[in-house]
Amino acid sequence: MNTQTVQAEAAGVSMPPVLELHDVKKAFGGTKALNGVSLSIQPGEVHGLIGENGAGKSTLIKVLCGIVRPDEGAINLAGRAYAPTTPREAKANGLQVVHQEFNLLPHLSVAENIFIEHLPRNAFGVVRRQEMHAGARAALDAIGLSDIDVRWPVARLGIAHRQLVEVARALMTESRILILDEPTATLTSRETERLFKIVSDLRRRGVSIVFVSHHLDEVFRICDRVTVLRNGETVFSRPIVETNQDELVRAMVGRKLQQQMASEVVSFARPAQALSLARFRPPQSPHAEGISLHLHKGEILGIAGLVGSGRTELLRAIAAAQRPLSGELFLEGKPTSFRSPREAINAGIGFVTEDRKEEGLILNMPISANVTLASLSDVSRAGILDRKAEIEVTERLGAELKLKYGGPGKNAATLSGGNQQKVVLAKWLARNPKVLLLDEPTRGVDVGAKAEIYALIRQFAERGLALLVVSSELPELMTLSDRILVMSQHRVVGELSRPEFSEERILQFAYQGEQQQARQ
């Protein structure tokens, strides 16, 4: 088949597609994750798959590798109907995925990880170690990782090398289609080059590659064809030579790109500053210059950026959920530093985390207990809880936030996503904070409750509360914010004031930041 492919390519004959999707749909509850995805992948083609956060790329990959079953639509693999029910079945059909999150077992050796699915065994079921090591050695050499000892535990490798080991594992089995989900997110430029070389070798052998990436320049470098998803639909699919970066951004966002150049960063100088950061470096921030920003009283400052740009880390460091590496933090002009979330909260900072269920709420405890969790001293005397006061606070804030609930004694788990989020907001409002940090404030919240939460956030600002909002949904940020900072690679790469808001501008900043990083 390999030689055929090469010949066919040479002759310019178009082959039947190896993978074909037609109008694939998948809904989770009321959310349409996939709403008509069509895709056609040729043998030996590198196919770029791009789209904003939430466009449906991850769901699509899950459908292809058998984790999620589609509701509607047809999928053909090499001419036959394809409906895998398990990842194992997908592999048996020659479809391999290198996932974004790591699936390696850190305490096993590199060789064991590579061979985990089919360890070479003798008649007694004992692993043939030498054979395994030799095989792993060959696999690593093949992708240019000769500097790694296959006997090392994976835990000893850096994040980039782990990613490449994962690629090596995927290459152990002959596959027709290899899906790389954001493979370069953790790689340095040298390793990215290695990966690209592997990709072009594979292509020559007739393997098709689906390359999912946020980095448009990479897509242009290695892809033959590019498909854009938006809101779960295929909106664009074209050979790479027939398109350009602007067109792709436009397709991702969905409107005409206005040809305007980025204006200079406007700096505001309002007197009443609530929070300022100077050269503030959250953990993992690779840059010495850190992040500097000013947040004013009554202002809603939005923070945009791609996944992994360091937005959550910034909020966590301000709230002292994690210690910053260095830098200064000023609260109402006074230099401050917090050693624990407790100190940050006492100073007037509230933090609505991204993960409501893991970090925000105690689901199996009553709503009232959740509302008062951060202000227990207000509803107790000498350490003894005043249940009446607790219920009063809950009912007062519940009414203010239009919380729909069965009663203060009902568990938080009984609430819908939007109402759970309101409980988290109530928890911080009960403390009367000066600064409220919101990480993805409407994640997992239905449309109606979203609008309510927006209205509430604006009300808070009108009362003089300073709000820092991180969101992956650009329309949300543009609705809420007075000003938007764009982050990329753990630094602020752009600032937009309200009249300058547009999704195109924000994405331009975000992608430019990525490219600058790549050039360095």
């Binding site: 709420l361 969790l373 003894i384 809880l385 009984t414 609430l415």
Partner: protein, 337 residues
């Protein structure tokens, strides 16, 4: 849940149920109480001597020590921890207390007061170390208290040179078998401890946060509470209760030996689990623990009266522990309680 969403906040009539005393929790405790009642009825009907005043006070005396240890264990298990060292700590606290108790030239009052202080103090120090070491280094309490199990036992043997301490003041011993209306005084002490623990766990900020930590540690930390303090406190309370249990032990049996209390931690854990407290933490009540301790006590006593061997009794107790957890699992799945 849909019905809830339709209700407008304004028109909702809130049942003023108190958190911690919600009908669900009451129902859970009531279920365990019912099981206890059935056991009592069964043994009363099937054996001649079960329902006699003498036997009842016997049972109450027998469960007292386990109950006190189980109250402390409830605090630890509620935050998602476990304390395997209480049996050894009991021996260590007893020999330290016993040594003080036998100091010559002290009045009985002085001796008992000082011995109590010494025994409880020993328990507090051991419990504090359990909590602090596991919280500070983020170690599983299973491992740390397994270490303490050996340390405390070794320390008890070391300070006594493996000898048993006896000849305590006679009035101290008399106190151990004192009755009020046929109820052993030591059991009343245990009941008082249950009442205090119930108050602390359900009525105070401290108790609220222990439940919170057991359910979602990170949410509690991000709400501005020191996990370290509450974790160390839970283990320290368990230690203090071991000290009190050691005094009760000496008052009843009139000896303090470095080899007492072997396996007591497992009986205490069994009482807590049968009482409906989740080993994952965050769920359970000390009333449940009281009922759980009664169930194990009634079973032990009743099965012997029933004519079963001690070996059979042990097997049946094991079955009950497993059954309790299975029933709990179903209850959780079916009713969401």
């Amino acid at each position: 849940m849909q019905a809830l969403e339709k209700t407008q906040a304004g028109e909702t009539v809130h049942a003023r149920q108190l958190p911690g005393w919600s009908p669900k929790v009451l129902l859970r405790d009531a279920g365990i109480g019912l099981a206890l009642l059935l056991l009592i009825v069964f043994f009363s009907v099937s054996t001649e001597h079960f329902l006699t005043a003498n036997n009842i006070s016997n049972i109450l005396t027998q469960i007292t020590i386990n109950l006190i240890l189980a109250v402390g264990m409830t605090f630890v298990i509620l935050i998602g921890g476990i304390d395997l060292s209480v049996g050894s700590m009991l021996a260590f606290c007893a020999v330290v207390g016993g040594t003080v108790l036998t100091i010559p030239d002290l009045s009985v009052f002085q001796a008992v007061a000082l011995a109590t202080l010494a025994a409880v103090g020993t328990g507090v120090v051991c419990g504090f170390l359990n909590g602090w070491i596991s919280a500070f280094w983020g170690l599983p309490s299973f491992i740390v208290t397994l270490g303490m199990l050996n340390i405390a036992r070794g320390a008890a043997l070391q300070v006594t040179d493996a000898r048993t301490i006896y000849s305590f003041p006679p009035s101290f011993n008399a106190f151990g078998s004192q009755m009020i209306f046929g109820i052993p005084v030591v059991f009343l002490i245990a009941l008082l401890l249950v009442a205090i623990a119930w108050f602390v766990l359900s009525k105070t900020v401290f108790g609220r946060l222990l439940y919170g930590i057991g359910n979602n540690e990170e949410a509690v930390r991000l709400a501005g509470h020191s996990l370290m303090f509450y974790k160390v406190a839970a283990f320290t309370i368990a230690g203090a209760l071991v000290g009190i249990a050691a005094m009760v032990y000496m008052a009843r049996l009139n000896i303090a030996s470095p080899i007492i209390g072997i396996g007591f931690e497992l009986n205490a854990i069994a009482a807590v689990i049968i009482g409906g407290t989740s080993l994952n933490g965050g769920r359970g009540t000390v009333i449940g623990t009281l009922l759980g301790a009664c169930i194990t006590g009634v079973l032990a006593n009743g099965l012997i009266l029933f004519g079963l061997s001690d070996f059979m009794r042990q097997m049946i107790t094991g079955v009950v522990i497993i059954l309790a957890v299975i029933i709990d699992k179903y209850r959780e799945r079916l009713t969401g309680i």
